[in-house]
């Protein structure tokens, strides 16, 4: 029987339709358990019935951070890649594998570590005794209840993916640098692919905004953040095992990036820059009490906007893609998968554009702010 007259395209469509089954499996949490068609038979042993598909839960679990990599569900048992949990507790540093939590995110399973009892609620680890005194509302915002939890320095999904991306980038650019030494003429191979990008960052982003004299000092920084953010964006789009984390869509990550840009801008501000803030030219001195706070707020909103922009763009893209994929599970039929697959394909391509674009905009605005800080003031 001929299944299809165009075997390659059928195969491709079949693979695309199967991605949701493999890549978007969720953590097997006790209370809400997503059922897929394949796992529907294996419900005998566990105490969960076929609950309704909760798209919000799925999306939140994919966008948020986690202590382990949940790869797939196999026969009711989850397959995960367990990452180490590093805690700074009242008793000192504790390191153990996240396997001890047994995929518990509801605070039921107690882990005993050197006499301390810990529970994990929605990926935040608490002291068990303190946890029980918290209300439901406090538990949800538990990340900030610093007296009820130890300090968490674990290698989470995002940290792992960040390590991976730095290693990839480092090896890549080291290879490129070495190829320049070996081959002083026209670049071949990967150098030929990356060199136009480096030249692009230098000539379109750094030179026009920072000026001819000083752009050389800031080139390494701009290049680093450009490629770092771009590759992390791209990694977040890949749904299977080592790549499935959402690093740039995490507000703490973008906060650190924006903060570093803020530090670079502030520490390279010359006298004209500070003069503009504390002594805006053309403003009479008695307005200074109003102008100075306004200027300071203006100085702070720029990195804030950088942070929010990157975070929101990437997160929004991920949410859209995940929602479109969840359509299949909400309608609970395979027939929706071609439509959903088409939408997901379109959105993924758009997200790739957004990945590059957001990296470019972040770098461009950083260069702009640095340029404003080091600008030689041409007196009117």
């Amino acid at each position: 029987m001929v299944i299809s007259n165009k075997p390659l395209q059928f195969l491709f469509a079949a693979i695309v339709a199967c991605i949701p089954f493999v890549g978007f499996a969720n953590p097997a949490v006790d209370s809400t358990h997503v059922t897929t068609e394949a796992v529907a038979e294996h419900h005998g042993e566990a105490a969960h019935e076929e609950k309704e598909f909760n798209a919000t839960e799925l999306i939140n679990s994919h966008i948020g951070d986690a202590h382990e990599f949940h790869i797939a569900d196999w026969g009711g048992h989850p397959i995960s890649f367990y990452l180490p949990v590093i805690l700074w507790t009242n008793n000192g540093l504790e390191i153990f594998s996240s396997e001890k939590f047994h995929h518990d995110n509801e605070g039921h399973h107690v882990v005993d570590v050197n006499g301390q009892e810990l529970v994990r609620y929605k990926e935040v680890i608490f002291y068990k005794d303190k946890f029980e005194t918290l209300t439901e509302e406090e538990r949800k915002n538990g990340a900030f209840a610093f007296d009820a939890r130890p300090l968490d320095f674990s290698i989470t999904k995002n940290v792992f993916s960040m390590l991976m991306s730095t290693i990839i980038l480092f090896l890549l650019f080291l290879a490129v640098a070495r190829s320049y030494k070996k081959n002083p003429k026209a670049p071949k191979g990967i150098a030929g692919f990356l060199e136009p990008l480096v030249t692009f960052v230098r000539d379109e982003i750094a030179r026009p905004n920072i000026g001819e004299k000083k752009y050389g000092k800031y080139m390494p920084y701009l290049l680093t953040i450009f490629f770092f953010i771009w590759i992390n964006n791209l990694i977040g789009l890949i749904p299977f095992f080592p790549f499935s984390s959402n690093l740039t869509g995490n507000i703490y990550f973008t906060f650190v990036m924006a903060f570093i840009t803020f530090l670079v801008t502030t520490f390279s501000g010359n006298k004209d820059y500070w003069g503009h803030i504390f002594n805006t030219p053309g403003v009479p001195f008695w307005l200074a009490p109003i102008m100075v706070p306004v200027e300071i707020i203006g100085m702070l909103t720029k990195p804030f906007a950088l942070m929010i922009r990157l975070f929101a763009n990437i997160t929004a893209g991920h949410i859209i893609i995940l929602s479109l994929v969840s359509l299949i599970f909400i309608f609970d039929t395979v027939a929706v998968s071609p439509i959903s697959g088409a939408f997901v394909l379109f959105m993924s391509v758009l997200e790739m554009l957004v990945a590059a674009l957001q990296a470019y905009v972040f770098t461009l605005l950083s260069a702009l702010f640095i340029g404003q800080a080091v600008a030689e003031h041409d007196h009117h």
Binding site: D152, A177, Y180, V198, P220, F253
Partner: protein, 163 residues
């Protein structure tokens, strides 16, 4: 949206990014940027030297042109000079010839005059001798008749005394 613990990501991000940045800046960006810039410079140098070579070529061609032009002008000048000289020589020789002619005429005239004088002198001599001869003959004839002669002399003496 669920917010997880901030410190893990913030701490690790800061550390990893700073380490990564310094490593990359030292081992990757410096050589890459240096290589790109040196290649750009070499390209610019090559372009500039090509431009200079082209300009040199242009200069050379212009020089050649100029030299040719000058040679041509010199040739024209030489020709003109030659022509002028020819004309002048012709005029000079004409004048010479004329002068010579006049002198010859003068000489001829003088020669003619001299000849004439000589001829006149000769003639005079001839005439005088002839006339002497004729006179002699006449005289002979006349004197041969003594009576006629003595009558004639008496008459002449008579004439003189009468003055």
């Amino acid at each position: 949206m669920q917010l997880t613990s901030p410190e893990s990501l913030i701490f690790w991000t800061t550390i990893i990014f700073i380490v990564f940045f310094f490593l990359l800046a030292k081992f990757a960006w410096k050589p890459i940027l240096g290589a790109v810039k040196s290649r750009e410079e070499s390209i610019n140098n090559a372009l500039a030297s090509a431009e200079a070579a082209r300009r040199e070529m242009q200069n050379l061609t212009a020089d050649n042109e100029r030299i040719l032009q000058e040679a041509r002008m010199e040739r024209d000048a030489l020709l003109k000079e030659a022509r002028e000289m020819k004309d002048k020589m012709i005029a000079d020789s004409k004048q010479e010839a004329q002068l010579q002619g006049e002198r010859m005429i003068e000489q001829a005239k003088a020669a003619i005059a001299a000849e004439k004088n000589a001829a006149m002198a000769e003639l005079k001599a001839q005439v005088s001798s002839l006339s002497l001869d004729i006179a002699e003959k006449l005289l002979k004839d006349e004197l041969s008749n003594k009576e006629a002669q003595t009558k004639l002399v008496e008459k002449m003496l008579g004439d003189v005394k009468l003055n």
